[in-house]
């Protein structure tokens, strides 16, 4: 692994973040320094080591599939940026521009 040059514009696009002018350079330098720091992990012999996703002895947790009351619709919609009746109002996702 190598810190290399991080393509900040491409990563920002993946992350759905619009960068302001100058931010790609600023974040690029800072992320480059961090990647250089984390490169030390290359010193660890991990070839035969299992990956840890979480640390406690816990596997799948199931519950009975029983319907139960959920949050009140009005209370939830009160936090929405835009709503229309009992729905969230969101921009068009498919097809021609809205």
């Amino acid at each position: 692994m190598s810190s290399g040059d991080i393509d900040v514009d491409y990563v920002a696009k993946l992350a759905r973040l619009k960068l302001a002018p100058g931010e790609a350079e600023k974040f690029g330098t800072q992320l480059g320094a961090l990647l250089q720091y984390v490169d030390q992990l290359a010193n660890l012999p991990v070839a035969d080591v299992a990956a840890t996703a979480q640390v406690i002895p816990q596997s799948n947790v199931y519950r009975d599939d029983v319907a139960r009351p959920s949050l009140d619709r009005e209370t939830v919609l009160a936090g929405a940026p835009r709503r229309e009746g009992p729905y969230f109002r969101v921009p068009r996702i498919l097809g021609e521009p809205s």
């Binding site: 973040l17 992320l31 660890l44 299992a50 990956a51 406690i56």
Partner: protein, 497 residues
């Protein structure tokens, strides 16, 4: 009474020596007097605290004893309390009102605590100084020119300044322990999976844990016992018997083996700080503990490991902030532009940095080299601790390498990340870990003496043993009380600090 511990307050309210309503009023007055200068709170919930107090007083009159009767409680602003704004100190959630109350908070309210308000933090809990808040500035009550630590900076400042008796914080890589050390209070991160995260806005789901911030270890044990345990609303809570910690507190350390980490050499610290930790280790020995050297050869890789895993999880968790169902929306020409503009306007620089690094570490071509390698390093770090705990009951080390620093002292991100050098390895291993006041840095050049914290960590699920050890150390040393809180100037709330 407002400066008493939670244990003392609950006893007095249950004995009807003072009413919960009087405590709600006293806490409100205290916040008005001090928070203009300290900035611990982002919002006060005075009405809620009065309603809760009335309920407590009614219950006590009816003969019910409540374990936290009338105890003033501050809540980090990444925890949902129905009807309150829960902002994560971010512009993207600045006006969002929680539709429900999280489990940990609810359990404390059921026990009689009074919700005073929501406290400042680094945005989305990403930071070690509270300087990354987009919504407020919190200062260290022991020196107003210094940071309180972070990310739970508002919660520790509230308890340190007497603006709350107990506070809740969340700890992902040290966000309870480092600020607790900076502000002369006890901060306890339980074992991963012990306390429900239902209602805690997620940052890094394999690491986040809620814990108490208190004046004493006894209070931390009291609050932890009430919060901990399986919750059907959080599948990551463990279904495992809880050992009561509050009744396991002890007065000496005879028969206890404390591990001192070979790789955390105190010689790396500034001399006056080093002297404090040397004395702390000696004090543990004086209490009867046997000090044993333990090796954690991979602990030095903790920060590097953490800064791949935590950002990776953050980039995934924070994808939900897209301007559709809650929080800020900035309209663009189409849905893609709306996402991008909303997130650009709503997130601050540190959050953007972490989303970018996490997205990069998870992206095609880099996933194995960065993310999976970090997950493997995590296995090695956890295994080192497991080996160490075969020869000791708890590990002692500094909670941070320095006392609280000045505002704007750490301008490059990596130097800020290194503030969590001593707390991150325990987080990666999921261990219970706490910071307890252990002394004061020697003031130089007219500066104030600043508090330091001793970090004590135990094996998975060993909360009772760990809190017992911390209590014995705290009761025999009482460092928290050796320097008085400086006078806090009255500044009108909302005025620039």
């Amino acid at each position: 009474m407002i400066d008493a511990t939670a244990t003392e307050i609950a006893r007095a309210v249950n004995a009807r020596e003072i009413s919960a309503l009087e405590l709600a009023e006293a806490a409100h007055v205290r916040i008005l007097e001090r928070d203009g200068a300290i900035g611990a709170y982002l919002s006060e919930t005075y009405e809620l605290s009065r309603i809760a107090a009335q309920r407590v007083d009614d219950a006590v009159k009816a003969g019910t004893s409540l374990p936290l009767a009338g105890v003033p409680l501050a809540i980090k602003d990444n925890m949902c309390v129905a009807g309150t704004t829960t902002t994560c100190a971010s512009k993207i959630l600045e006006h969002w009102v929680s539709p429900y109350t999280g489990t940990a908070v609810q359990r404390l309210l059921d026990a009689g605590a009074l919700p005073l308000g929501k406290t400042n933090m680094d945005e989305f809990a990403m930071g070690s100084s509270c300087e990354n808040s987009a919504l407020g500035r919190t200062v260290n009550p022991y020196d107003l020119t210094r940071v309180p630590g972070g990310s739970s900076g508002g919660s520790v400042a509230a308890v340190a300044a007497g603006e709350a008796t107990v506070a809740l914080g969340s700890d992902t890589g040290g966000s309870i322990r480092e600020p607790a050390a900076f502000c002369n209070v006890v901060g306890f991160k339980p074992t991963y999976g012990r306390v429900s995260r239902y209602g805690l806005i997620a940052f890094a789901s394999s690491l986040d844990q809620i814990g108490p911030i208190t004046q004493t270890v006894e209070d931390a044990a009291l609050v932890y016992d009430l919060m901990a345990g399986k919750d059907p609303m959080d599948a990551t809570t463990v279904d495992r018997a809880l050992e009561p910690t509050h009744t396991a507190l002890r007065e000496d350390l005879r028969g206890v083996r404390i591990g001192i980490v070979k790789e955390f050499a105190l010689s790396a610290l500034e001399p006056s700080v080093r002297a404090v930790y040397e004395r702390a280790y000696a004090d543990l020995e004086k209490l009867g503990a046997e000090l044993v050297e333990v090796e954690l050869p991979t602990a030095e890789y903790g920060v590097a490991t953490y800064y791949l895993i935590a950002p990776a999880e953050c980039s995934s968790n924070l994808a939900r902030f897209d301007g559709m169902r809650y929080g800020l929306r900035v309209e663009g020409a189409d849905i893609g532009e709306t996402y991008e503009a909303t997130r650009a306007a709503g997130f601050g620089d540190e959050v953007k940095r972490r989303i970018l690094i996490g997205t990069y570490a998870l992206s095609s071509g880099y996933y194995d080299a960065y993310y999976v390698r970090a997950q493997k390093a995590r296995t090695l770090i956890a295994a080192d601790f497991a080996r160490a705990f075969a020869t000791c009951d708890a590990i002692a080390c500094p909670a941070a390498a320095t006392p609280a620093f000045a505002f704007n002292a750490k301008t490059d991100p990596v130097s800020m990340y290194l503030m969590d050098y001593y707390t991150i390895p325990m987080s990666l291993a999921g261990l219970p870990s706490l910071s307890v006041p252990c002394g004061w840095s020697a003031p130089t050049g007219g500066l104030s003496p600043m508090p330091l914290g001793l970090e004590l960590s135990g094996p998975l699920f060993a909360e009772a043993s760990l809190l017992g050890i911390a209590h014995a150390y705290e009761q025999s040393t009482r460092h928290a009380r050796t320097v008085a809180l400086p006078a806090i100037p009255h500044v009108a709330a909302g005025a620039p600090a």
